[in-house]
């Protein structure tokens, strides 16, 4: 049956209306003259208040997860810290949510909204934990559910972690549509939305982000009660940017204005996200730079016209870590703390382990998520799969890891190392599309908010972008 069944050109023409109908939001009303849109209006115009979000989540076993001090991991990090250093590391055990990850916070609000607006079913495009979250909550609300995954390469080999997520979705009664590698997933997704009339449970809608605000809010309040202060830093595994955005907004809502918000991604530099060959040579299907950097640079590349996940508005610093170090810390979490979690969700833990060594002993760094583990997801099937795909497993300097070629485990906890991505580098990539545009005062104000920098700095960075372009 060698015929095309996906009408890409037609779907492209109809996409605005398909999205509008399937999200129940007309994004045009948030647009402003020039380049910007009113982010605050979009976030406040959903008809759902923060109190509503808390109530909705409470009723479906989402949120209020345990915040635990990782004493033994902290003790381990202090072995490599100088006197007086080695911050206390806490973990928000998000694996305790319905469906096993923080993604249930996002799905809870989306699915509640879908039900309220009278949709018969919901669709989400995700190869990650979000699928299980949407499926579980759709089951709870008696809605039909379709999850669309990028899963197989052209040799019909699937990523084991994604297979496990498909199984979880099916366990909650969802229909799982699995696709081979390629950005055309967006059109397959649009086609399903159009044909079914279901709700688009986008990760990037305002609902999806509002749901995470409770996570940051809980962290700030719980630590105020138990430790008498807000944490010095909260670190978020960063992919599409929603996790960091929602957490930071929740911290601010609780008044934790001084708390630093850090992003952490697994370094997959060199692997092309749309490459059929590279697809099964990576060990992380999310939380990596292949999503983290493009979504920070251009948040509106998602499945809605304006993403509510806008990490550059909130991020204070951004770090990358190699795959081998995340596997190492995943093992440490299990044998030192009795918590079998991750691995992808432990990306920020690996970074926190290193950062804690540079922070004072009485300071607190919170790792704001964990995720369930199991067949396919666990670090053993991930590493076994990597080896079968000719990726070398070696011990050595983690910073020398070449994604797709090898995975380098540290020989000691002291060798876990991280790299910082200067935020100005991401800001300049963001600004590149405006370098030959004449910008109004309102445009510049929008860019200041988008990039969390001053007027002067926006102008300075645009100037730098122009100079760099001329040099080329």
């Amino acid at each position: 049956m060698m015929i095309d069944t996906l009408d890409i050109k037609g779907l492209d023409r109809r996409k605005y209306n398909i999205i509008k109908k399937s999200v129940g939001l007309d994004y045009k009303k948030f647009e402003r003259p020039g380049i910007g849109f009113d982010y605050d209006q979009m976030m406040n115009d959903t008809g759902v208040s923060f109190e509503d979000v808390k109530d909705i989540q409470k009723k479906v076993m989402v949120g209020n997860t345990p915040l635990i001090e990782l004493n033994n991991i902290t003790k381990y990090a202090r072995k490599f810290s100088k006197e007086g250093y080695g911050a206390r590391i806490f973990l928000k055990d998000e694996a305790s949510n319905l469906s096993g990850s923080f993604k249930a916070r996002r799905a809870a609000i989306s699915i509640h909204q879908a039900k309220k607006m009278g949709y018969k079913g919901v669709i989400a495009a995700t190869s990650g934990n979000y699928g299980a979250a949407v499926a579980a909550l759709a089951a709870k609300h008696g809605l039909k559910c379709i999850i669309v995954q990028e899963c197989f390469d052209s040799n019909n080999v699937a990523q084991p972690e994604i297979l496990e997520k498909a199984r979880a979705c099916e366990a909650y009664g969802a229909e799982v549509i699995q696709l081979s590698v390629g950005p055309e997933l967006f059109y397959a997704f649009l086609d399903l939305l159009e044909k079914t009339g279901y709700f688009n449970a986008s990760l990037y809608s305002p609902y999806g982000i509002m749901g995470i605000e409770t996570l940051g809010y809980e962290i700030a309040n719980e630590l105020t009660v138990s430790e008498g202060k807000f944490p010095e830093a909260v670190i978020c595994t960063n992919a599409g940017g929603g996790n960091l955005t929602g957490t930071a907004r929740g911290l601010l809502r609780a008044g934790a204005k001084e708390t630093k918000v850090y992003g952490a991604s697994v370094n997959l530099q060199g692997l092309h996200m749309a490459s059929d060959l590279d697809f099964n040579r990576k060990s992380f299907t999310t939380g990596h730079t292949g999503f983290g950097i493009p979504f920070a640079t251009n948040p509106d590349r998602s499945d809605v016209p304006r993403s509510a996940g806008r990490p550059m508005r909130y991020m204070d610093r951004y770090f990358t870590v190699n795959q081998g170090s995340v596997f190492f810390i995943t093992e440490a979490l299990a044998i030192l703390e009795g918590l079998e979690r991750g691995p992808a969700g432990n990306t920020s833990l690996a970074v926190a382990f290193k950062l804690a060594q540079t922070m004072k002993k009485d300071e607190i760094i919170v790792v704001q998520e964990s995720e369930y583990t199991g067949a396919g997801k666990h670090h053993q099937p991930q590493l076994s799969f990597a080896r079968n795909n000719k990726v070398d497993l070696i011990f050595g300097n983690p910073l020398e890891e070449i994604p797709g070629k090898n995975i380098i485990f540290p020989k000691s906890g002291k060798d876990i190392d991280i790299r910082e991505i200067p935020l100005d580098k991401i800001r300049k990539s963001y600004l590149r599309k405006y370098n030959d545009k004449s910008l109004t005062d309102e445009d510049i104000k929008f860019l200041c908010d988008e990039l969390k920098i001053s007027n002067t700095n926006v102008t300075k960075l645009i100037q730098e972008v122009n100079n760099e372009r001329k040099k080329r």
């Binding site: 049956m1 052209s154 099916e170 229909e175 696709l179 397959a188 092309h272 490459s275 093992e331 030192l336």
Partner: protein, 100 residues
């Protein structure tokens, strides 16, 4: 092999042929068809590896090549990975010291 009507099966179809895929894609992706896998109940009896029609969990009727009957979950905890044990020993030794 003839598969009877009503069996739970997995099908596969091609959504886009290689010649119609975007030329901006990496070569390894561009040169292969864009494929879809789905599961559901056979609407009519069909031959394995031949065209068939299924009804899915959301009552959609779709067509594809019949690939698998009563598909099982094949993912697992993988093969034994020595390196995990090595990491475990390193961590335990560094935190708790050597056993006496």
């Amino acid at each position: 092999m003839l598969v009877e009507k009503g069996k739970f099966v997995r099908i596969r179809s091609h959504l886009i042929l290689p010649e119609n895929r975007n030329t901006d894609l990496p070569e390894s992706t561009q040169k292969v068809p864009y494929k879809m896998w789905a599961k559901g109940y056979l609407l009519d009896e069909a031959e394995l590896y031949e065209e068939s029609t299924i009804v899915t969990a959301t009552n959609r009727v779709i067509t594809g090549i019949l690939k698998e009957v009563e598909p099982k979950y094949k993912h697992s905890f993988g093969d034994f990975v020595t390196e995990i044990n090595v990491m475990r020993s390193i961590i335990l030794k560094e935190v708790w010291g050597n056993d006496d």
